[in-house]
Symmetry: C2
Subunit: 797 residues, 2 copies
Amino acid sequence: MYGQQQRAYTYKDRPGSLRGDGYGGGGKSRYNPITNPATALAVQSHNYEPDESEVWRAYVAQVHFSNRGQWWTTGKKRALKRWILTFAVGVVQAVVATSCNFASRSMTSRKYDYIYELLNPSFVESSTAFWNFCLIQVLLCAVASMFVYIEPVSGGSGIPEIKCYLNGIDLPRVVRIKTLICKVIGVTFSVSGGLPVGKEGPMVHSGAVVAAALSQGKTTCWGVDTSFSKFSDFRNDREKRDFVACGAAAGVASAFGAPIGGVLFSLEEGASYWSTKLTWRAFFCAMTTILTIQAITNIDTWWGQTEVGRLFSFGEFNSISGGASNYSIWELPIFGLIGCLGGLIGAVFNAANEHLTIWRMKRVNHSKIRRVIEVIVISLGVSVVSFATPLIWGRCTELPQDMQDWSNQEKNLVESLVPFQCEPGKEYNEVASLIFTEADTAIKQLFHFREGGGEDNSTFSSGALFLFFVPYIMMSSVVYGIAVPSGLFVPSLLAGAAFGRLCGHLLHKLDHTSGTFADSGTYALMGAAAVLGGMARMTISLTVILLEATGDMQYTLPLMIVLMSARFTGNVFNEGLYDIHIHLKHIPFMEPEVPPVAERNEIVAGQVMSAEVKCLRPVERAGVVYDLLRSCQHGTFPIVDTASGGTLYGTASRDMLCTLLQRRAFGNPDVLDDYDNSDTLGTRRLSPLVQWDTIERAYPRYPNIDDIDIGEADRNCWLDLRPYANTAPYTINETASIQRTYRLFRTLGLRFLCVVNHNNQVVGIITRKDLLPESLTESLLRGRNAHVMEDDIHDLS
Amino acid sequence: MYGQQQRAYTYKDRPGSLRGDGYGGGGKSRYNPITNPATALAVQSHNYEPDESEVWRAYVAQVHFSNRGQWWTTGKKRALKRWILTFAVGVVQAVVATSCNFASRSMTSRKYDYIYELLNPSFVESSTAFWNFCLIQVLLCAVASMFVYIEPVSGGSGIPEIKCYLNGIDLPRVVRIKTLICKVIGVTFSVSGGLPVGKEGPMVHSGAVVAAALSQGKTTCWGVDTSFSKFSDFRNDREKRDFVACGAAAGVASAFGAPIGGVLFSLEEGASYWSTKLTWRAFFCAMTTILTIQAITNIDTWWGQTEVGRLFSFGEFNSISGGASNYSIWELPIFGLIGCLGGLIGAVFNAANEHLTIWRMKRVNHSKIRRVIEVIVISLGVSVVSFATPLIWGRCTELPQDMQDWSNQEKNLVESLVPFQCEPGKEYNEVASLIFTEADTAIKQLFHFREGGGEDNSTFSSGALFLFFVPYIMMSSVVYGIAVPSGLFVPSLLAGAAFGRLCGHLLHKLDHTSGTFADSGTYALMGAAAVLGGMARMTISLTVILLEATGDMQYTLPLMIVLMSARFTGNVFNEGLYDIHIHLKHIPFMEPEVPPVAERNEIVAGQVMSAEVKCLRPVERAGVVYDLLRSCQHGTFPIVDTASGGTLYGTASRDMLCTLLQRRAFGNPDVLDDYDNSDTLGTRRLSPLVQWDTIERAYPRYPNIDDIDIGEADRNCWLDLRPYANTAPYTINETASIQRTYRLFRTLGLRFLCVVNHNNQVVGIITRKDLLPESLTESLLRGRNAHVMEDDIHDLS
């Protein structure tokens, strides 16, 4: 009685499929993540909406029913918990960031203090210092790489991973506590190890993990169950994503002291949803972080009026004289030009790093040991270069003397100039002052030192800037991608600041009457923005972050001009570095805009969909469901009415089906003969009911089909899928344009989209992978042969 | 032969409609904008997506075909034009804003100069000044109200109108050139007329109109065709909305010198789309505006280093000493308290204005003459109060003497203190100094004067602040809504600054050791933010606008705290003022979030839809179409296959149908007998074809059905709608939850949504009006009796 329907119903079975072959094509394997190497990574999309099934509706109705007449409803309780958790995220992230900052600062300063003691003007004795220096740096980097050895996901900056997460891609292990620990401790060591890396990217990642961990409450770390919270109301993809967005905002806020920039970063990356409520939460979270950091850093003054607490700052920009700007309006085109140059530098940087990364993926990354060895080798190289460049420069400059009218900030910066084989307290080595300090001190030096002092009347001469800039940016490009946690913002800013100050010097040399051009510090700021913008190509959020870090609104217009021109110039050559890395990893990242290939050509949904759909019937034999789940990795299965030729009844998710099989929610095999039309089934339930919250409780680790086994006797039992079917899935007509399809899919953050014809019969399914530019191009090449479009052209034109 | 199908097919005709009565109900009139007073305003939604019909696809294919192999494609040309136009919008808006600012400033200063000449310490002679003062002010206000008489839409702030426009509502005449002219000239007079109004809201409106006018190229103003541009590539709702968003950003940028705040304002209001490309364009547009304003204001210094060009500014906040903040961290809770108080003040302000507006709508607004008289009466009242309060204060304070270490800004502010019956050059009247100056000077005085000078050791004593604050905020509440163009930002900021400074004074009195609390200027800034936030309840964009106007990043955290607490406190009592006015006008404004009534109850799409759908058949008699169009005002008609019980074939827009009737695109009546099943029609075209661009050329003034007349002979002709049908309309299943429906509708900015059942049969249609909270509540009350849900509960629980 069940022989002929022993396998799942597919689109091909449907009689009289309307122009099914014109679109879609037959045996495409794109939907199968196993056979296609591009999707070999077990990447799943997030599911932001609950399946609207009968059991879900019953659950919602029950919740509403239990709240009837109450003031303190479940919804309000949840809202309060959500705000409390958001507050907690802000506080914890502030503590994490402050600790990481304190640790790396003290390690760095101890390292340099030790080296300075060993350094002597005589060359022979310096060699001891050199060897010690190399040894310390290599050791620290090796420790950093050990953490990446333990948890590979914690390598790199983390910003691509968070971008992907907010884009709706469930990369494995990205927001685990283990990753957080490895990342934060690792980046402390890699920064202390003297590599040209920053800790800003990792801080953003850290904020995201803190948020995910706190909101989910229950998590396992190295096998230990760290259930520290009963707040498990938020265990679904949507809530988790919202928390991660808040956490990322807190991360940016802690890294740059830029709360608004942080909120914008989250919103820009998670562009598929712009919710006012979420904006406020992210705002609140970032605010809490800043507040906590201020409270921690100012605890010694009893929270009085002290420096605005920031872990990273550009220092204070002072106007030349009250009310006037530091630049002339006619200098804005020059800033634009610097932006273009920065865009070029960024493009070269990205291209070099892309080639290196491809080489690394082939030769290094397949072995964990090789990655550690690479770190050690590169760290040694960086140490040698760092020590060699000041020696090559080999000139001592007198410290500035006439400092009566200098500000405190400038006096502090003078103190941090490094003698390096010069007479301490009287002279300094220009190149060493940039290398042998922390990166943010070096940036402040480039931004704020006024002219006066060394050769050609400035603290840093053009030669020194050049000698620092070229090796530093080359090292940065080499280092990004090795197996240590490493951010890219600070190296870009530092290299850019040197470049910008160099530009300023050259302009000043052209100009014999002084005072025509803005001072070199302003040019250094523009250069920093240009190189960072040319590398990252980030949009409005980066402008706001830089503005907040600068803390002076007069730079709004120049920064906007620089970042825009850097972005446009860079985009002529290649993508932003984060996007390059996302694409190299073959992650199905959906850009906010429809890909140009779709804009330039007429493609319809029916052409890009996967026609190889595996369907289920409303009531199905358990054996058929089991075999289907084992035979493919699809995340969602349409439920169709076979009698009417595959009319869409609803959809069933893999997780739900696995849960049903695991819980053995089968009905008696004899209750029903095989059937043709689901209308004949009536409203009788054919199998025991599993409640919606029972299914959802397993989130995010639903049962795996490989762990489930059903006996031969059970195979014949009926599984009644009707109460669990998502009866209102998003659908799109097969004639819809790709623009409309893309917008629907991307804007609502969907996981799948059923493609139907005019009779609501399922003709295909569209997932994230079908809408990537490569898939669209492929569809287009096939579509060129389709006759429908050309017919239209002849007919109508 | 066509007797039995002489009227349009409706849902009721369908045989065997599945649970049609359970949902939706019968003769609802909500969908009809005529019978329901709430929608009596002829409000249409924008249509952001082209109807994807065969003719549209053919048009797109033709464009692609003609671009084949070319480098300089139509798309690139359009993109270039778009950027050029965006640039032009920025420049023009800057010129408009600068002119308006210059005109109102010079008019105001001439007025005060004239009055000061007449003013004398003797009371008798002052009466001449008083009468002159009243006369001038009333005259200026009367002129302002004349412009609103000419164009009623130009009254008020314009921000609610722009919010509605970006929300997707096509309010008539909002973005016309006539409105722009009336608004800009009108606001110049109303500000000069001494009313407590600002010109910032109108500037935002102005930017939007400039953008709409420039992008549309062709427009009529007072009957004169002002076709000044051939750039008419952007004549559709989507492009126009994008330009308006850019223009609004430019408007905010010009009003507050806040380019980033402007971009955020546009994005927050037009929240249904967050497009990276549009962000960049808005960014560019705002940047251009700022650049042009800087260029214009600095032209006298040959664009050298001068003051950062801003039309409105909070002045320069100087830190007490380098690096330290102007406030202590433990003062942040006090700021939060001020925020709460500001929220309360805002709530009272809004409630008072709401009641006044309702009264006005009943008693004044129905007659244009009454509105002008109201303006004259209120203006007289404001003049009397303005003149009386300084007289009541009647005390002369000595000018501060010890000004060696004061900054230029403070010295300038001292010069702008008003003697008003005191000895000029030696004394000033504290209250008059706040009233008899321009609002932004008064704001700067409140923000920047240090303690020292008058009674209780400050420039403005507590009594004077109180005497200014109470009448001023009451007048503001009365004035908003009268028939003059009037913004609300500046009055709120000024009143709030007085309130905040007052709070500061009171705190300083509590504190005997000086220096514990921040100076009164900081408190004034917090008060300004609190009252503005309590009134407008705007979100993140307001924070950024205030931050950019303040120009000092150390205030980020306090401002965030103040604005958040003001918003939360205010929201306990009522909505923001702009939302109140939108709702009083019964505009179907869709909030970004699902209304709470839907969150709290289980409603499905089938319950909220309008079941009274007027449908057409794929091929229809011209007479039937004509009668249908005349009988109702619906904007969209589903096209259904009657044979299969109403299967959705596509949709047809009213505009398209009118164009077809006007162009008489009919086929021979004898070519076809009446038919039952559209499949039998084959692919033969039954009427002549009208190309897509022919239909679209009429945008935005499509033919009206009342202007079309078809003869008796034509009534019988066939109209083949198949090539024009939007075959891929957005649909939703009747069982979808209201959350899902709302999100789909709001996020994609739809105009309508077809509700279908499992067989793709049209059971209803959802438009904007069906998703408003009131409609949802109504549906819910009906839905309580529906048995389906309760069945589910009993069955499953």
